[in-house]
C-alpha cells in the first residue's frame, strides 16, 4: 500500500511495464496498481466515447424536425383526441388538395391522437402542435392557463364557441340489450358492468360522468344528493378505467368486457360499423350532454413554424360545406346541417341536450367541483372497489 502511494506521486512518468518490473512486490496487492491505471485510463476513454456517441445521436436528429417552415412545402401538426382519427384522415386529404389548388403550396398534415387530457398535457410539456382539435374546451383552457402558447380568449376566435361540430354521449350495448339498459338510471343497477375511461385523463370520460350527473339532477325530485348517489353507484359498476376513449372501446368490443360502454356518439357509430351490427347496438338515453369539441390555432408554435396562415385556413375549412359534410359522414353532428348529406343526418336520433354551462356553470367550475385532486370523483371512486 505504502509503496504504491509513493509510486503514484513519483515525479518521472515512465512506461508502465518498466515501473512494474522494478517493483515486483506489487503482486502482494489483490489488484496490481499498474493494471489499475492502464484499465482506468481506457475505461475513462471508452466512457467518454459512449457519452459522445449519445450526444452525437441527439444532436444529429433534431435537424430532421426543424426547418419545416419553408415556403414550398409545409408541415402542420394537428394534435387531436381519440375518436377523430377517421375524420381527420379524410379531412386532411381534402384540405391538402384544396390548399395546393388555392396557393400552390404542398402541405403535409401530421396527426397525433390520444386521450384529450393526455394530449393537452403533452402540448403543455412541449409537443409542438400547430392546431388543436380536442374534446373539451377545458383541455385547451388548461393549455392557455399553464403556458403562453395561446391567448386565454381563444374560444371566441372561431364561430360556435370554436366548435365546427358537436356530439353527445350515448350507450353501446351487446346486441339485443340483454341487461335492458334504456337510460342513465339503469347503469347503477347491481350486476351491470359499465365501461368508461378515466375522467382524469380523458375528456370523453368527464362528459360521461357529467352527463350521468346532469341527468340525475334534472330528474323530477332530483338534486345534488341524488346525482351523487347515482354517479357513485355507476362507478361501483366500472371494472376498469382506460386512459382514453379508444382504449375503452377496445376493452368493450375486442376484449368483450362489460355490458355497456359509455362513449361518444361518433365513436359508438364507428364501433358498430367496424365491428358488426350483429354484435352491438346503440342505445340513446332520454337526455344527454351536448359536447362541443373545440378547435384552435396554437399561436406561439404556429408563429415559430411560420404556419399561422395555413393553420387558420385549415380550421376554417372545417366550417366549410366540405368540412361539414365530412363531419356528418364521420358521425359528428354538423353545426351547419344544411351542408351535410341528408342521409347522414338521418342516422342521428332526436335527443334532449343539456350543456355543461347550464348544469355545472361552465367547465372550470365542473372541473373544480368534480375532477380536481380531492374533488368529488376522487371521493366516490376507489379502484377495484
Amino acid at each position: 500500500m505504502q509503496n504504491s502511494r509513493q509510486e503514484k506521486s513519483g515525479p518521472a512518468p515512465r512506461r508502465y511495464s518498466e515501473r512494474f518490473l522494478e517493483i515486483p512486490h506489487i503482486f502482494a496487492e489483490p489488484i496490481p496498481f499498474m493494471c489499475r491505471l492502464v484499465v482506468w485510463r481506457s475505461a475513462l476513454g471508452v466512457g467518454l466515447l459512449a457519452a459522445l456517441s449519445v450526444l452525437v445521436g441527439c444532436n444529429g436528429a433534431p435537424a430532421k424536425t426543424a426547418g419545416t417552415g419553408s415556403a414550398s412545402a409545409v408541415t402542420l401538426l394537428n394534435v387531436s383526441y381519440d375518436p377523430t382519427r377517421e375524420l381527420y384522415a379524410e379531412f386532411n386529404e381534402g384540405f391538402t388538395k384544396q390548399w395546393r389548388e388555392q396557393s400552390g403550396q404542398v402541405v403535409t398534415i401530421e396527426q397525433s391522437h390520444g386521450g384529450a387530457g393526455k394530449q393537452a398535457r403533452a402540448v403543455i410539456d412541449g409537443l409542438k402542435a400547430d392546431v388543436l382539435t380536442l374534446a373539451l374546451s377545458y383541455d385547451i383552457d388548461m393549455i392557455a392557463e399553464q403556458s403562453d402558447l395561446l391567448p386565454k380568449d381563444w374560444q371566441s376566435r372561431l364561430p360556435n364557441n370554436s366548435s365546427p361540430y358537436t356530439t353527445t354521449i350515448v350507450f353501446l350495448v351487446r346486441r339485443g340489450n340483454p341487461k335492458g339498459i334504456r337510460d342513465w338510471g339503469d347503469l347503477a343497477k347491481p350486476g351491470v358492468q359499465v365501461i368508461t375511461p378515466n375522467p382524469k385523463t380523458s375528456g370523453g370520460a368527464r362528459l360521461n360522468y357529467l352527463a350521468a350527473w346532469g341527468w340525475a339532477e334534472r330528474q323530477p325530485n332530483g338534486g345534488q344528493a341524488t346525482a351523487r348517489k347515482l354517479v357513485t353507484a355507476i362507478y361501483k359498476n366500472v371494472p376498469v378505467l382506460d386512459s382514453g376513449a379508444r382504449g375503452s372501446t377496445t376493452t368493450f368490443v375486442q376484449r368483450g368486457i362489460g355490458d355497456v360502454l359509455l362513449t361518444w356518439e361518433n365513436e359508438a357509430f364507428l364501433a358498430v360499423n367496424e365491428l358488426g351490427r350483429d354484435k352491438l347496438e346503440i342505445i340513446v338515453p332520454s337526455s344527454s350532454i351536448l359536447a362541443e369539441p373545440p378547435v384552435t390555432v396554437v399561436d406561439k408554435n404556429a408563429k415559430a413554424h411560420g404556419t399561422r396562415e395555413i393553420a387558420q385556413a385549415y380550421l376554417e375549412y372545417l366550417y366549410s360545406p366540405f368540412g361539414q359534410r365530412l363531419a356528418a359522414k364521420h358521425y359528428y353532428r354538423p353545426t351547419s346541417p344544411e351542408h351535410a348529406d341528408p342521409d347522414d343526418l338521418k342516422r342521428f336520433s332526436k335527443i334532449e341536450f343539456f350543456t355543461v354551462d347550464e348544469v355545472f356553470g361552465g367547465w372550470r367550475q365542473a372541473q373544480k367541483t368534480h375532477f380536481d385532486d380531492g374533488a368529488i370523483f376522487d371521493s366516490i371512486y376507489t379502484p377495484g372497489g
Binding site: 436528429a61 381519440d82 382519427r85 401530421e110 410539456d125
Partner: protein, 307 residues
C-alpha cells in the same frame, strides 16, 4: 449415464435382500405420475400462454392472405416506424455496448469506493417502471421541466421528437450488456491482463487482444438482449413520443395505433415483425449461450484439474 448405473446397482442390492423390486424407486426420484403430470402441466402452460398467442399473432396477420399482409409494410407510416425503430436501436445498442463494457470492466477488475452504488445504479432501469423512465425525461426536457425552456429557446426539441425516443430507449436498455459481462469478467479474474501488461502491452492492446476476446460471446449475448428490448420497448417510448404519425412512432407504438384504428390485419402484421424479431433473438441467444458455456468450461478446466 451415471445415475442409470447407480439405479441398477441399487436395484440389485435391494432385490438381493429379498425385497420386491417392482415397487422400488430411489428417494431422489419422483413417481411416474408426478413426473408426467408435471411435464404435462408445464407443456400445457407454455402452449397456452406462449405458443398460442404467438401463433395467433401470425394467424391474425395472415387472415386476409399474403397481399394485405405485405401491404401493411408498404404503408409510409409503417415504413417510417420501422426506420425509426432501427435508428433508435442503432444508437441505443452501440452506446450501451460501449458503456456496458466500460462499466463491467471497472466493476469486475477493480476495487474502488462506491462500487456497490455503481452496480445498484446500473440495475436501476430494471427496477423502475418504464413509464417512470419516460416521465423523467418529460420532467427534465419538457417545457415546464428543468431544461425545457432553455432548450426551446435554442430551438432544440428533445422530447416528442427522435432524441427523446433515443434517450428513453438508452435508459431502459442500460443494464443489459453490463449485467451479462460482470459475472463472466469477475470469474475470469485479472491474470491474463496482468500477463499482457507484464509483456508490455498498452491499455488498448490489452482491451482488444485479451479482454474483448475473452468476453466476446457474453458481449454478443448482452447486445442481442439489449437490441430486442430497444426495438420492443413500449412504455417509456410511449411517454416521450407524442404519437405523431409517420414521425415519432416506433414499431410497438405503430402497432397500438393500428389496433386502435380497427386495422387489425395491419396491426398484427407489423406485430408479427416484432414476434419474428423475438424468435430470431431467441435462436441467436441459444447459439451464443452454448458458446459461452463452452468457453467458460475451457477457462475453468485448468483450475478444476488442479483441484
Amino acid at each position: 449415464m451415471s445415475s442409470g448405473v447407480t439405479n441398477t446397482t441399487a436395484h440389485t442390492a435391494l432385490t438381493a435382500r429379498g425385497l420386491p423390486a417392482k415397487r422400488l424407486r430411489l428417494a431422489t426420484e419422483e413417481p411416474d405420475w408426478v413426473r408426467w403430470s408435471l411435464i404435462a402441466i408445464s407443456i400445457g402452460f407454455l402452449t397456452l400462454f406462449l405458443l398460442v398467442p404467438l401463433l395467433a399473432v401470425f394467424a391474425e396477420a395472415l387472415r386476409k392472405g399474403l397481399g394485405p399482409y405485405f401491404a401493411s409494410f408498404a404503408d409510409p407510416t409503417a415504413l417510417s416506424a420501422i426506420r425509426l425503430t432501427l435508428l433508435t436501436a442503432g444508437i441505443a445498442v452501440p452506446a450501451n455496448l460501449v458503456f456496458g463494457l466500460a462499466a463491467a470492466w471497472a466493476i469486475a477488475k477493480f476495487e474502488f469506493f462506491g462500487k456497490s452504488i455503481l452496480i445498484t445504479l446500473i440495475d436501476l432501469p430494471f427496477a423502475i417502471s418504464p413509464v417512470i423512465s419516460g416521465l423523467i425525461y418529460v420532467l427534465l426536457f419538457g417545457m415546464r421541466g428543468w431544461l425545457g425552456p432553455w432548450l426551446s429557446g435554442h430551438n432544440v426539441q428533445i422530447i416528442f421528437a427522435v432524441p427523446g425516443l433515443v434517450l428513453a430507449t438508452v435508459f431502459v436498455t442500460f443494464p443489459f450488456v453490463a449485467r451479462e459481462l460482470i459475472p463472466l469478467m469477475q470469474e475470469q479474474g485479472t491474470e491474463e491482463e496482468q500477463a499482457a501488461a507484464v509483456l508490455g502491452a498498452s491499455g488498448w492492446q490489452i482491451l482488444w487482444r485479451v479482454t474483448l476476446p475473452n468476453v466476446k460471446w457474453a458481449l454478443l449475448y448482452g447486445v442481442i438482449l439489449c437490441n430486442a428490448r430497444a426495438m420492443g420497448e413500449f412504455g417509456a417510448v410511449s411517454v416521450v413520443s407524442g404519437h405523431i404519425r409517420g414521425k415519432t412512432n416506433t414499431i410497438p407504438l405503430h402497432v397500438e395505433i393500428l389496433y386502435n384504428e380497427y386495422n387489425f390485419v395491419a396491426a398484427f402484421a407489423v406485430a408479427s415483425l416484432l414476434a419474428l424479431l423475438a424468435i430470431v433473438t431467441l435462436a441467436a441467444k441459444n447459439v451464443v449461450e452454448s458458446r459461452i458455456r463452452r468457453e467458460l468450461q475451457q477457462t475453468l478446466e485448468p483450475s478444476t484439474a488442479e483441484a
